[in-house]
């Protein structure tokens, strides 16, 4: 499943709803559904807000794939690009009381793998959830 959306918060809501459905259909347990959906939502917010800066001429693209072993979700924007190595550590004492800077940290915490690819212009995030440990055991 792959679709392109405008750079709006309404699109973020649509991506979040699609992620929730995708994770449920893959059989993830409740905690992993929450974590995966939240990671996807954070990535969509990043794409719309920090990537495309709500530019109506730019879109975000989202794809969901279940290959039987992993859930692979890709979210891309058409913005100026993001270098993940330059992001400050939100857990550092000096950053703990900052109002921003936790989105990528949450994505990395909630997914098994996170990959960044520069698109020139734009950034593509690939979020991976390994199915074996994340599915319901009942």
């Amino acid at each position: 499943m792959r679709f392109a959306l405008s750079s709006t918060m309404d699109s973020v809501s649509k991506v979040e709803a699609a992620a929730e459905k995708f994770a449920a259909e893959a059989g993830l347990d409740e905690d992993e559904r929450f974590r995966t959906t939240m990671a996807v939502r954070e990535a969509a917010v990043n794409a719309v807000l920090h990537g495309n800066d709500y530019d109506p001429d730019k879109q975000i693209t989202v794809s969901f794939e279940n290959n039987g072993k992993d859930l692979v979700i890709k979210i891309s924007d058409q913005g100026k690009g993001l270098d993940p190595d330059t992001l400050p550590d939100p857990l550092a004492p000096d950053n703990l009381l900052r109002g921003t800077g936790r989105g990528i940290f949450l994505i990395r915490s909630f997914m098994d793998e996170v990959h960044f690819r520069q698109l020139h212009p734009g950034t593509e995030l690939t979020l991976v959830k390994h199915l074996a440990a994340a599915q319901k055991t009942t």
Partner: protein
């Protein structure tokens, strides 16, 4: 579900009963305005009842931190009550659990302001 905020007074403490989600575009702005309004009125003791907040994102976390620092800078205190498991997990993950005064029962929380 968007955020709803109801305000009540208990022994000199303003309790804000929050319900819904604190996220970018849904609850962050309402929370910011509610805190700003209280500080503008000179309220020094605020307790955020999070018992019905089932979701908070990175923007919502930022708003909580801003509420905390804004209150502190104005000589006011802001504390949290009744975190749901999901909100508690996110606060622990981001180490914000160590920043806030957090209570499980309202009477203890109200008493802590004295």
């Amino acid at each position: 579900m968007a955020l709803t905020i109801a305000s009540r007074e208990v022994d000199g403490v303003t309790v804000l009963d929050l319900s819904g989600r604190i996220t970018l575009g849904e609850g962050s702005v309402q929370l910011r305005e509610a805190i700003r309004d209280l500080i503008g009125k000179g309220q020094k003791n605020t307790l955020l009842n999070m018992g019905d907040v089932n979701y908070i994102d990175s923007s919502g976390l930022g708003e909580l931190v801003s509420a905390y620092t804004t209150s502190k800078n104005q000589g006011a205190a802001l504390k949290l009550l009744s975190l749901t498991k999901k909100v508690k997990d996110v606060l622990q993950l981001t180490k914000l659990y160590t920043v806030f005064d957090i209570y499980d029962d309202e009477a203890s929380a109200i008493a802590s302001f004295k």
